[in-house]
């Protein structure tokens, strides 16, 4: 396990009666790209602002590189922030903006000049050093904000939805550039976003937040392939979730009873973590296949549910089906249009939806959350 850079212990923030951040424990590893992902109001920005020193925690502690910094004011913390609004100093040139932090640290003039130039080269803004922020585009301003923070070589860089204000094309480009820069400089990046694709593109580790708590922590693959809550399953991509009850567990797979009588197989280790036999199982829409039929041929190694197509929508690279199962669930199924031949399936057809048991995940049953 790598060294911890930022450690949160029981971190809590209340605004009046509202609990924004609820007793979070988190270790953010050194030198990685870490994302706090969640819908608006989940407490991710408040968490970041507490690390930056802009909000005082109601309870709990924050450690940076092993030293507690909970009570330190922002200007004494060895972290720098890239704000969502960029927050560039409008009365200073780009070079003056970038030099601001070095001046505060009393870095001598020659070194300051060199480091400012390096930082601007890193974000490819060298030629625009004498401009003012108002004379630049959003993407350029974002790069200045990044250079202004990175030039100080902080222990950790905090990014508060830094790409939120940019258009889609530029956002995609900057996502790749940000990951590249992070690898180049090796500084810990802590990135706050509500965009699951952005988090999955850039981050090594993602913490999915909901209602002030961390729902699940893991790599993009872990979160997508093995979500542990219905919220994570739905927030990162689409999921089909059905209630199920564990009947037996032996060997590699557990057998569950789901969707009003169907017997399905679920990886045994996924079931083992569940608190009770009453669980929900899930499968991603693109992991399923469809074939015409009424269930005569149900057998073998795959999981299968019978149903009827109630909606079919051609969306270019895939066709998106909604299948109403015999047990009353609606399943979303994506069938890739990889050949010119269409599947020949249409609304009203009786079908069998199949998937590999390995692709089945298990989430806790809980009150249904919106979102």
């Amino acid at each position: 396990m790598s060294e911890t850079d930022v450690a949160l212990r029981g971190l809590t923030k209340r605004f009046g009666d509202m609990v924004a951040v609820d007793n979070i424990d988190l270790d953010i590893p050194r030198g990685g790209f870490f994302a706090l992902l969640g819908p608006s109001g989940c407490g991710k920005t408040t968490t970041l602002r507490m690390i930056g020193g802009f909000e005082e925690p109601t309870a709990g502690t924050i450690e940076l590189a092993g030293k507690e910094i909970t009570q330190q004011p922002p200007h004494k913390r060895d972290v720098n922030t890239v704000f969502q609004s960029y927050a560039l100093f409008p009365h200073m040139t780009v070079a003056e903006n970038v030099a601001f932090g070095l001046e505060r640290k009393r870095v001598d003039k020659a070194e300051r000049k060199q480091r400012v130039a390096e930082a601007l080269d890193l974000v490819e803004l060298g030629p625009l050093a004498s401009r003012r922020p108002a004379q630049m585009s959003g993407g350029q301003q974002q790069r200045v904000a990044l250079a202004r923070a990175l030039v100080n070589r902080p222990r950790a860089l905090l990014l508060d939805e830094p790409l939120g204000a940019l258009d889609l094309r530029l956002r995609k480009q900057l996502q790749l550039e940000l990951s590249q820069i992070q690898r180049d400089v090796g500084i810990t990046f802590i990135h706050v976003t509500h965009d699951q694709e952005e988090a999955m593109t850039m981050a090594d580790t993602i913490a999915v937040m909901r209602d002030g708590r961390i729902d699940q922590l893991g790599t993009a693959t872990e979160l997508y392939e093995h979500p542990r809550t219905a919220f994570v399953a739905n927030f990162l991509g689409n999921s089909n979730l059905v209630d199920a009850e564990v009947i037996s567990s032996s060997g590699r797979y557990a057998e569950v009873d789901a969707d009003g009588g169907a017997r399905l197989k679920v990886p045994a280790n996924a079931v083992a973590a569940a608190q009770s036999p009453q669980i929900r199982i899930g499968v991603r829409p693109e992991k399923m296949t469809l074939e015409a039929g009424n269930g005569q041929q149900l057998d073998g190694d795959s999981n299968a549910l019978l149903g009827r197509i109630v909606d079919a929508a051609y969306i270019g690279l895939a066709t998106q089906y909604v299948v109403h199962t015999e047990g009353g669930a609606d399943l979303q199924i994506f069938v890739q249009n990889s050949s010119s031949r269409t599947s020949g399936l249409d609304e009203g057809d009786r079908v069998v939806a199949r998937w590999d048991p390995e692709h089945t995940f298990v989430v806790e049953r809980e009150e249904q959350h919106a979102g």
Binding site: G52, G53, F54, P73, P74, H75, V79, N80, T81, F83, Q84, S85, A87, L88, F89, P90, H91, F100, G101, R104, K105, E124, L125, P127, L128, R131, R132, A134, Q135, S137, G139, Q140, R143, R148, A149, N152, L170
Partner: protein, 278 residues
């Protein structure tokens, strides 16, 4: 297609506009004109010929120079105090949360809504009760009181339009609160501070009602003019008024020049650079 009715409406609109401007500017024009009046005797109400003698000797009336200097000093001191206090009040109201914040925000504007006569009389009552000797000091206190509200309104508007994250960014980059105030907040507030200064200076130098209650033996320019008017306003008053008018017009042109230059520079630098398409 323009119909004759459209043309008629346009020409009527022109006449109406000219009329409105004339209505507004005739009194000012009369003041300027009569600063050149070669008046005989105490009165300066009828045109009796052109002269430059009042302009050659603007302070030729006893007490006028003293009153003018008093007014300038009073307005300057009032402005300095009101702007310093006003910036503090505005910062406290916008950037901090504290008990009594809402009440303060409302009460600061109360002097603006109070009739000046009431304000002047009430201040007089207090000064008498507290045993203050009325004079320059009581004038400064009174003027700061009724200009403060304007300063707070102006600075607060500017501060509310300012992204709070800019100040946070400064602190994030290692600036303590004082450095942030000095390097970031105050420079960004500068246009608001300039506007508030001009406003409070103009309101202070113009004030008659409140000053009349609280001046004691001190005579400001408006008080002098009022006193003089009972026996005929000397043309030198018109000279001073005209000079102040010219000064204000000059300031306006200087300001306009700055704005044009800033706009031109911005336009020039906004042209796209071919190397960076972003």
């Amino acid at each position: 297609m323009r119909t004759p009715l459209d043309r008629l409406r346009d020409s009527l609109l022109g006449v109406w506009s000219v009329g409105a401007v004339v209505f507004l500017f005739v009194p000012i024009f009369v003041i300027v004109l009569f600063s050149f009046n070669d008046n005989q005797g105490r009165f300066n109400f009828t045109w009796q010929g052109f002269t430059l003698r009042h302009w050659a000797d603007p302070f030729g009336v006893e007490g006028l120079q003293q009153a003018f200097v008093t007014s300038i000093g009073l307005a300057a001191l009032t402005t300095v105090i009101a702007v310093i206090l006003g910036v503090c009040v505005a910062l406290a109201l916008v950037r901090h949360r504290w008990r009594g914040r809402g009440a303060t925000g409302g009460l600061v504007f109360l002097p603006l809504a109070t009739p000046e006569v009431v304000l002047g009389a009430a201040l007089l009552g207090w000064f008498l009760t507290l045993g203050f000797i009325r004079g320059f000091v009581t004038l400064v206190i009174a003027h700061v009181m009724f200009t403060l509200g304007y300063v707070v309104i102006t600075i607060r508007a500017r501060l509310e339009g300012m992204d709070v994250h800019i100040e946070e960014a400064a602190m994030d980059l290692g600036a303590n609160q004082l450095t942030t105030l000095r390097k970031i907040t105050l420079p960004l507030l500068a246009p608001g501070i300039a506007a508030a200064s001009l406003l409070s200076f103009a309101i202070s130098i113009d004030d008659f009602v409140v000053s009349n209650f609280n001046a004691g033996q001190t005579v400001t320019f408006p008080l002098f003019v009022y006193g003089a008017s009972r026996q005929g306003v000397p043309p030198q008053v018109n000279v001073i008024a005209t000079a102040m008018l010219l000064f204000v017009i000059l300031l306006m042109f200087v300001n306009l020049g700055f704005q044009r230059r800033a706009a031109r520079r911005q336009n020039r630098e906004l042209e796209p650079t071919p190397a960076l398409g972003l």
